[in-house]
Amino acid sequence: MIRRTEIDGVPALIAPTAGPLQAGLMFRVGRADETLSRAGITHLLEHLVLHPMGLADYHYNGATAPVTTYFHMQGPEKDVAGFLSGVCDALSALPLDRLETEKAILRTEHGSRTPHVTEPMALWRYGARGHGLIGYPEFGLHMITPDDLSAWAARYFTRDNAVLWITGSDVPAGLTLRLPAGERQAVPAASSALPVTPAYFSGGSRTVALDAVVRRRTAAGVFAGVLERELFRGLRQEGGLSYTASADYNPRGDGYAVVTALADALPEKQDAVLGGFIDVLAKLRVGRIEPADLAAVVARRADALDNAEVSATRLPSLALALLTGEPQPSAEELAAELRNVTVADVHEVAEEALGSALLMVPAGRSADWAGFAAAPSVSDGAVDGQAYRSLEGSDARLVVGEQGVSLAGPQEAITVRFDQCAVVLAWPDGCRTLIGEDAISLTVEPTLFAGGAAVPPVIDAAVPPHLRVDMPARDPSSIPVPDPDRYSRPPGVRPLGSRLRLWQRAGVPKLGFLLLLAAGLTVLGIVGMVTGAGTIRGQLVAVAGGGVWSSYLIRNLIPRVQQVWRMLE
């Protein structure tokens, strides 16, 4: 049974458990509440809050999701109370001396994480705002000030925008939640970058993935389960085309839920996986739901609702529903709803899902043949303004006007309008990347256009400061030098000079020379050992030092050689 109470003005849900005491403090704020130019502020705040806890030996963590941020702790009553009280106290007195360190940690965290293969789908569906932001790096970290953080905490991390859940018999003794008063913050409205659905885009991987938005309901979760069984059977068991074939269902917090599905593919099977995936979707769309699949999915979900721990395990999702103002049915009500789901209900969800679908197809493929419209990757038109000629022989001109910036070719243009700009990334050398709210991105390299040096000041003057992100200086070698024949040369032909330049710029000759020296040192040591010249200690130092140095150089050399090869291809 789930008991409701209130602790220092924060609504709390308590359910008994046979397991350890756990508690979660959840706030209704997440990445979807941010803007691209200050993206990362919630995550940064979460890290700052947790930093003082690192000194205690707690079993805790924190997470920033699209519409929630939560702090979670498991352990003895005293520790849980201490942790949660500590989180609330840290929110009102952020350890701002840690700001730059935590920013650096977050940048490292981002650099070392493997992005989920479906992440790009968010920006194709929602654009560069709201729910689309999870598809982007945390660009704003560089620019976030202590004042930004205090304002963010004051708006979102309040007792009126929080829910606490506890698995245990009662509220831990000594727990106080010192949070300021505030307002419950509504889940941000979903934006759209898709003029037409169903739509598709070509991803960079071999994976086929689906993202569909449906009204949140029990039958929609069942649909995701049925879809997973169909994909697994059709692509893995029968065809042997995929290893992973799965589907998932996640409420978005605004009355809708997102059904995602994905199937990976061997390189030579990508077309078959795409075709098989589309056939599975078509089968469900026409209503051929296998009754055995429906029964199996309902049984598995009903099982999960029918055990002693169900109240405890449902607490996080109930807390989310409480925060977002969505229905919070009991386990019994959910089980009854599940049992009532019919083939017709699942068919209805399938039609809704396919109508809203965004399909990611493998690189170089399309899905227009199956009735999916190409998601926009270029703009409707170009702005008027001063045009700059390419120094590389491209027929695309850079146009900078009062309305925005365009890269306009004879057929197509990409445009970012200043009044629909989500962020401008600004490098000290003048390079500017503008990203529009529609996720169209345009990078201006002033060195590649005649008179291009005049462009950055115009952009800087037109874009309000809160949209600007100052980027660290680039390595001088990555500032492009115009290659006058780049676009006029027939493909595949490249003068020898520029090949040499590529190798030089990648530092391969330099590293190669050093490697020769290092290897020479090793050889000298070995020769010394064999011939008995010099002291044995000197020989060992030469061999070991040369070896370590060589392996370090080789580790650096290999990726550079690979990169140049790829460029030459």
């Binding site: 078959a272 589309i278 078509a282 043949w369």
Partner: protein, 314 residues
Amino acid sequence: MPVAPAQPYPDFDPVAAYPVMGRVRNALVVQDWAAVRALVDAAPESAARTMLIRFAATVPDTERFLRDVLDRDPDDSVAGAMLGGRLIDAGWAVRTRAMAEHVSAGQFRVFHEHLRRAEQILITAAARNPADVAVWCERLISARGLGLGISEVRRRYDRLAAHDPHHLPAQSQLLQSLCPKWDGTWEQVHAFARERMLAAPKGANNAVLVVTGHLERALGDDESHLATPFARDEVHEAAARSVLDPDFRHDYGWVGVRNSFAMAFSLMGDNREAAAQFNALDRFASKDPWEYLGNPAEAFVRRRARAYAIAGAR
């Protein structure tokens, strides 16, 4: 070898050999769907049924009628396969059979537009009736035209073969996709043809796949290919397994099979064997494979005259 004094002029209309096709065409022209379905449903076996549907797809000006039939009964996979096939045929008429470099961008655009419309009808038809091999057979053609890749063509064929492992109309389509001019290699062509020949029952039409593979290679790639022992041995073995087998029957598909053997034997210089096929064919000719040699009627008559002259002179 009896040589008729005046040889009949070849008749390339499939209706001549398969009169039911004529009745299907008439039923389509007068928009009598019940009659169309009765004729198709009465087909003696699944390859015959697919051939009737494929033929119906060549009858012009039926799109609106078939669309109406399908709207009334979305589960009618015969209507789905015919409408899909009709759009594919109309698209291919615009594209022409010329090599890709001789087809204009405008022609390709219209071709692909037709194929996309066809494919979407066929996706739904296959989703509703996954066991209808005629639908999958059309989807082999649309996949090839849309350039959906050999692994997708293969997946579609496998879905079909699960229901009918000896479906020659589909095997002929897959064989095309396996040719180097589309997505494959000659090794894949010959291996697939041989495998399906050996798997098929004695006297079955499927052995013609072997002949088609060698003809494709000889006419598309290397004229001397038919002179190789590999090609000669395989074509003779295929003949022994089909047209020369006592179980070989003149049922649906026989005209194309004998015409392929006649042409292959003629090109190999085996005129006696060619003459036997011409003799068995009488006036029944098929455009495929003769149109590879230019005007099909001229090629047929010329090759037949040579076969009879040399074989008769022996």
